[in-house]
Subunit: 269 residues, 2 copies
């Protein structure tokens, strides 16, 4: 970590009674800082606000978060900004205190910027539990991802849900190119609705080539012409290997994905 702010003050510690620690009662965002500015800022804040609403955590003031983010970034050009919002300090027991004040934590990490190189993808044995009440949110309950990463330390791991449908990468979303059309798994019962995923969906709608969002089975991946991963830190990258088998890398053949790959680090609103 280069620097961090806890509730606006330089610091790197929180109370052990913070519900973020006690129960994972909070949310986070991982933001690419490129050219000195947090990329896709508005999209990250919108997702954070949605998560806060769903968990009943008061959303911190967006202008305040932006001011603190800029303070932390200073004159750095490239970095990773991690934003954590918890329900705040509580007592013992699952019930949130009525007067809890959210804790906001901003951390800046060293980063060399997006690499853009293809990734090898491997299907994890670890599955994602189905929990519609938390589906799509980037909350702090991340043991499934921790266990998956222990199993797949190299490249990216692909997570299926407990019913066997493809959901996402450990820290990325997945797109399939099938007969020239983009498909991506539904993120309604588990998984994280990534901001770059949202950007792909939006650009595809605008281009009148809407992405097909549906349940996808693992065997469909083999038949796809191309597989792509998206995330705030990857942008859009092709998969060049699936479970040890080489795959065609053809992002250049898909203008929409190329556009998003570029936009992912340039949209600063």
């Amino acid at each position: 970590v280069i620097a961090s702010l806890v509730n606006g003050r330089p610091g790197d510690r929180i109370a052990i009674l913070d519900r973020g620690l006690q129960y994972g009662d909070g949310l986070f965002e991982t933001i690419a800082v490129v050219d000195g500015r947090p990329a896709l800022w508005k999209r990250h804040l919108d997702r954070l606000a949605l998560g806060c609403r769903q968990l009943g955590i008061p959303m911190p003031d967006a202008d305040l978060l932006r001011t603190e983010a800029e303070r932390l970034i200073g004159d750095r050009t490239t970095a990773i900004l991690k934003l954590v919002v918890t329900r705040g300090v509580g007592g013992r027991g699952y019930g949130p205190p009525a007067d809890a004040e959210p804790t906001r934590i901003l951390q800046l990490f060293d980063w060399h910027g997006p690499e853009g190189r293809p990734l090898a993808l491997r299907i994890c044995r670890q599955r994602l539990g189905i929990q519609p009440g938390l589906g799509g949110l980037k909350h702090l309950n991340r043991l499934e991802q921790v266990l998956a990463r222990r199993e797949c330390p190299q490249g990216e791991g692909l997570l299926l849900d407990t019913e066997g449908f493809v959901v996402e990468g450990i820290a990325s979303n997945l797109f399939l190119l099938v007969q020239g059309r983009l498909h991506t798994p539904l993120i309604d019962r588990c998984g994280v609705a990534g901001v770059v995923r949202e950007l792909v969906l939006e650009k595809a709608r605008q281009a009148h080539q809407p992405v097909v969002v549906r349940r996808i089975l693992p065997q469909e991946l083999e038949e796809a012409e191309g597989l792509f991963l998206t995330s705030s830190l990857l942008g859009v990258v092709p998969v060049d290997e699936l479970d040890g088998e080489a795959r065609a890398v053809n992002i250049r053949h898909h203008p929409l994905l190329e556009e998003v790959a570029d936009l992912a680090f340039k949209e600063h609103g």
Copy 2:
């Protein structure tokens, strides 16, 4: 909180980089201190060790934990001891660092001792996701319980899994008395395998009246002669109301449960 120790030192703060906060990457135990001693200590430590093994977290030394617990309890007779073990401080990303040293947090809370009074039980809309890899463990990913408690702030809430089977209370396990025999839900795909639940199972085996452990549907609760909740802080208490309907309270008619209700605060090994 009366007092707390972080890695053996008095303190009430941890690093924001602790994986307990970042990912809920850890476990906890809530222990009743009665007559100045932590009840069911060995059972709590056994569950903690099992959880550590499953998550790949090195288990802190049991004697050290006991020494620290006794130091914290001091000359108090009645209190709640909460023990948290996380994977320790890490960097950014889900992958655990190879050299992470577990963080151990001991907190002592005020408590007036077990009340033993019956509880009203209400079925929550919030469901438990099915995740066999974490089933039974008392890990730090507790958003499901937080959301359930927001929905059921009074009495105890009963959680079904996403397939509709009964699992447990928000902070307790459930037993049904059916034709004189105890039944309890399987805790294999979600839920916490409570230490008092284990004690009931063990005593029932010893008495040659083994508990029937199986999948249970909500409608079976209505037909049961009695419903009981178990936890480290409740011991064993009857349910006197189910979804607003009064229920018979008959723990005294069941010697085995009476024995466990008593033992739950007296077994100090």
